[in-house]
Amino acid sequence: MSNVANEKIAAYANRLGDDSLIHGHRLSEWCSNGPFLEEDLAMTNVALDYIGRARNFLTYAAELIGGGATEDTLAYERDCLEYTNLLIYELPKGDFAFTTARQYLLDEFELLFLTALCNSEDSTLAAVAEKSLKETRYHLRRSKEWMLRLGNGTEESKEKLQTAVEQLIGYTPELFEVDALEKDLISGGIAVDRAGLEESWRSACEKTFDEAGVNMPQAVWRVKGGRTGFHTEHLGHLLADMQFVQRAYPGCQW
């Protein structure tokens, strides 16, 4: 495969890795903060899945990039502007309703996305997708149940869930944005055409929202920019935290 193609696949793997890493990081913030011990363990399992997924994508990206790049140089030595995760992943963890709603919206998306990525012409991406898909099926089962429990629980839980969804909805259109890089890779059979997933995603979500007794709002406001490094203010703080040791003691092995 040509170097140009490799560069593009690296960038693609890198962005998928960034999505997973930032999401895993946010979930890991729940450790010792869950509403009860069983849920603490369960959320940590999900966080571990995402960190594992991030490592798979980033290791692959690093291999393609070469020149001494590793999963860790990618994770720890890039600044905010070079990070390419979608904005929805970097929003602070919020309360349990926010975390649940985000997880659910993403699980429905990832189920579709990973299913499609299993058919990628790139065998590494397809293999990572296959492993991740198993995890996501389980995540979705959990997050969907939580949507129903919170939506049909108390007035307070329903209200918190509704609020969370409204705070999140404007970040969902970005999940379906296809830029020039992805357009290229789609035509090569490597990347997933996200735009084509939106309808199925929406109808799956609507069904669950309906069962949960919560309105699925239309995205009347839309924020985007993650893929080009145009992030929210939250990401910088996340990275300051995550990269502190590596930045304070550059060039060391850990």
Partner: protein
């Protein structure tokens, strides 16, 4: 304010095919589906199981210590049920 309404479940796990389900502990959950999921997250973090049972603790009917004499002792006077009861010639002792 509490988890007082969450129920206590006993968890049993089959480690691999051919083994019995074995009691491993308990956990709190709202219903049996949730108990199954938590059992997966709590008790099989290292892939310890291929099958999980959860049982509402309050549904377990346990024998009482005080019943012991009438419950188990009558079963304990039949040594002929055990293989070691039969002394056989050396040659066939692996039977």
């Amino acid at each position: 304010m509490s988890q007082s309404n969450m129920k206590l479940y006993e968890v049993f796990i089959r480690g691999r095919r051919g083994l019995d389900h074995k009691h491993v502990g308990s956990l709190h959950a709202e219903d049996s589906e949730q108990a199954l999921e938590y059992a997966r997250d709590v008790y099989t973090r290292r892939g310890e199981g291929i099958s999980i049972w959860v049982v509402n603790s309050s549904d377990i009917c346990a024998s009482q210590e005080s019943d012991c004499e009438s419950f188990y002792d009558p079963l304990d006077d039949k040594p002929y049920r055990h293989a070691t009861h039969y002394q056989l010639p050396e040659k066939v002792n692996n039977m």
